[in-house]
């Protein structure tokens, strides 16, 4: 990038970029500031600039529906991301063993990702149906003790959603991590084999740290989709039974549409923005640090080069 010379500003180029400028400033700056500002007002259906300080935030954290949403998204996030990364890495490592039919298997593991979350949600809702789903089928096969209908019980409903989340996301994680594995230098494998390190240890302790980039990509990807989870809940449980599977994204949409309480909805939306900003900040910090280290190494190399 550095070798590209700075040119005179070209008016055509700016004209061509008007949509980009409008969206980047209009939507991703002004709209976000507007939302955050409204979270300090008592807006109902329409925006109103009556500032009430932190009242909406106090109300928000007093609302059981929101507390449950936050608990749910942590539980869902930790379990789904954890399962997807572990399951995805297992699949990727096993797919890396000169498997016959690799393409077929990859097609099978990945197709759920092409589906709408509405489709995923409806299918799993049907399979987990307490009267006609997996449970009934197993009972008909003679397993009378078999119980598997998480969605009908408030205590377990979120785990039903997690099953669908893993089904949708494990294949993508596998694809990203497999691409990472294929990028590892063959010499590493030779060296590990010469040293007599068992394959599983190589995968766990040598290769895994080497595919940090792919892991980070998969992780960030999962985080973004977890924070945004909306469709899956709407299709599978509508937030129920009761409010057992409420999520922040559902909470916000409900408050700006049906419940006509934009103030508290925007307070909730602002809370949703926080983890993303923290995540980006952490990632930015690590990039800044590695760039600084690289620069130091370079300088050191130049210095020693000058001496010899």
């Amino acid at each position: 990038m550095a070798q590209r010379p700075r040119r005179m500003p070209n008016i055509q180029s700016i004209i061509g970029c008007i949509p980009m400028i409008a969206v980047s400033v209009g939507v991703f700056v002004i709209c976000i500031i507007y939302s955050i500002t409204l979270s300090f007002t008592n807006s109902k259906l329409f925006p109103k600039f009556d500032f009430v300080g932190l009242m909406q935030y106090e109300r928000l954290w007093d609302t059981p529906r929101w507390i449950i949403s936050v608990q749910n998204i942590w539980l869902y996030g930790v379990l789904v991301i954890g399962f997807n990364l572990i399951f995805g890495y297992l699949l990727a490592a096993f797919m890396d063993q000169r498997i016959k039919q690799e393409d077929t298997l990859r097609t099978i593991f990945l197709y759920p990702f092409a589906l709408s979350l509405i489709v995923t949600g409806l299918v799993w809702q049907w399979m987990l149906d307490p009267n006609l789903g997996i449970e009934a089928s197993m009972k008909n096969w003679g397993f009378g003790w078999f119980e598997f209908a998480p969605l009908s019980n408030p205590a377990t409903a979120i785990y039903g959603v997690i099953i669908a989340g893993v089904w949708q996301g494990a294949g993508v994680t596998m694809a990203i991590l497999l691409a990472g594995l294929r990028g590892v230098d063959a010499e590493i494998w030779k060296a590990a084999r010469v040293d007599g390190i068992p394959t599983w240890r190589t995968y766990l302790f040598i290769v895994l740290p080497m595919i940090k980039g792919a892991l980070a990509t998969a992780f960030v990807l999962q985080c973004v989709s977890v924070v945004r989870i909306y469709d899956l809940i709407v299709a599978m449980t509508q937030g129920g039974p009761g409010i057992a599977t409420q999520m922040p994204a559902v909470f916000v949409i409900e408050h700006i549409t049906n419940r006509q309480n934009a103030g508290i909805g925007m307070a909730a939306a602002t809370m949703m923005l926080l983890p993303i900003i923290v995540l980006l900040g952490v990632r930015g910090f690590f990039q800044w640090r590695s760039a600084r280290n690289a620069k130091r190494l370079e300088r050191a190399a130049v210095a020693t080069g000058g001496l010899s």
């Binding site: 180029s13 991703f28 890396d96 000169r98 593991f109 709408s116 009267n131 990472g180 980039g213």
Partner: protein, 309 residues
């Protein structure tokens, strides 16, 4: 920010998936190999079961479904649920099936895909060859937008669209998809054009070609491969969208996913699971067809497209 995303891009544009397996060469059938295959086959079954259940349920009659054999192949095949799902299923008072939703989705998807890709291609081209003061700042903001939860910007957009009179209209939903497709597509095109040799651009400049001439005559014809990836990302993404459809499309332009959900949650009358599953397959058919036809192209789009979620 830029470095963060160029990593993603590396795996998106240059998939190392084709590079060939790296594991140790198998010599003979060992217990470990059997274990590996057993794990992979079990996983494959876990991934295929929902598809199987969808298909067999959609081909059963309601009395047979009530017997509770979820996984069994239908004892008497019926295609009536498919006909019903397509043309007769009810959402509230309207009983036209999924058909209107399908055509609405087509009307939303086609223009959205074309407009968003053209804009993103211009953005990527300008960001690679015609930088102006602040262009990188706008690009940085756009990338930030790729991570922002939609809920943070939806309400202001509703207000703005209402003011402009395009809330709950076809142009409105098309603009929404163009906005939210822009971050990832711009990134895709920027990295593609950024990898092209600068000499190409300079030669055209020497010959006196301007911004638009170079774009149309030289850059567009070269960007066919990346445009295919972009089309795959956008068609599946927009077809599968639910949130924007339900908020911005309005009753007349309800896309297929929204209509599907409405058909299933309609509580009047008995719940016809076979019709629901047929409707679900019909809604999934377009992205699935794209997935199976495009194969490796789809994998290329994933690292980039998945960010959209």
């Amino acid at each position: 920010m830029t470095a963060a995303t160029s990593e993603w891009q590396a795996s998106a544009v240059e998939p190392r998936v084709d590079a060939g397996p790296r594991g140790p060469k198998p010599r003979r059938v060992s217990i470990a190999r059997i274990g590996i295959y057993a794990f992979l086959v079990m996983s494959a079954i876990y991934f295929t079961i929902p598809l199987w259940v969808m298909v067999v349920t959609s081909l059963k009659t309601m009395p047979e479904i009530r017997q509770g054999h979820l996984f069994a192949w239908p004892s008497e095949l019926t295609f009536e649920p498919w006909v019903k799902a397509w043309a007769e299923a009810c959402t509230g008072r309207d009983c036209n099936g999924l058909k209107p939703g399908f055509w609405n989705s087509v009307k939303i998807t086609v223009p959205s895909v074309i407009i968003s890709i053209v804009i993103a291609a211009i953005n990527g081209y300008a960001l690679s060859f015609w930088r102006f003061k602040g262009s990188e700042v706008f690009f940085g903001l756009l990338l930030f937008g790729a991570f922002v939860p939609y809920q943070v910007v939806i309400y202001p957009l509703i207000i703005a669209f209402r003011e402009m009179g395009i809330f709950a209209t076809l142009p409105g939903i098309i603009i929404i998809h163009t906005i939210f497709g822009m971050p990832i597509l711009t990134l895709l095109f920027r990295n593609f054009f950024g990898a092209l040799p600068m000499e190409l651009f300079k030669a055209a400049r020497v010959d006196g070609a301007g911004f638009w001439q170079i774009f149309v005559m030289i850059m567009l014809p070269m960007s066919v491969p990346i445009a295919i990836v972009a089309v795959i990302i956008q068609v599946t993404g927009i077809w599968n969208d639910f949130l924007f459809g339900v908020v911005f499309a309005g009753r007349e332009n309800m896309p297929m996913t929204v209509q599907l959900n409405n058909i299933v949650i309609t509580t009047t009358g008995i719940r016809e699971y076979n019709v629901h599953m047929a409707a679900t397959i019909l809604t999934a058919a377009v992205p699935l067809a794209i997935y199976f036809i495009s194969g490796k192209w789809f994998v290329r789009g994933i690292a980039a497209g998945a960010v959209k979620g």
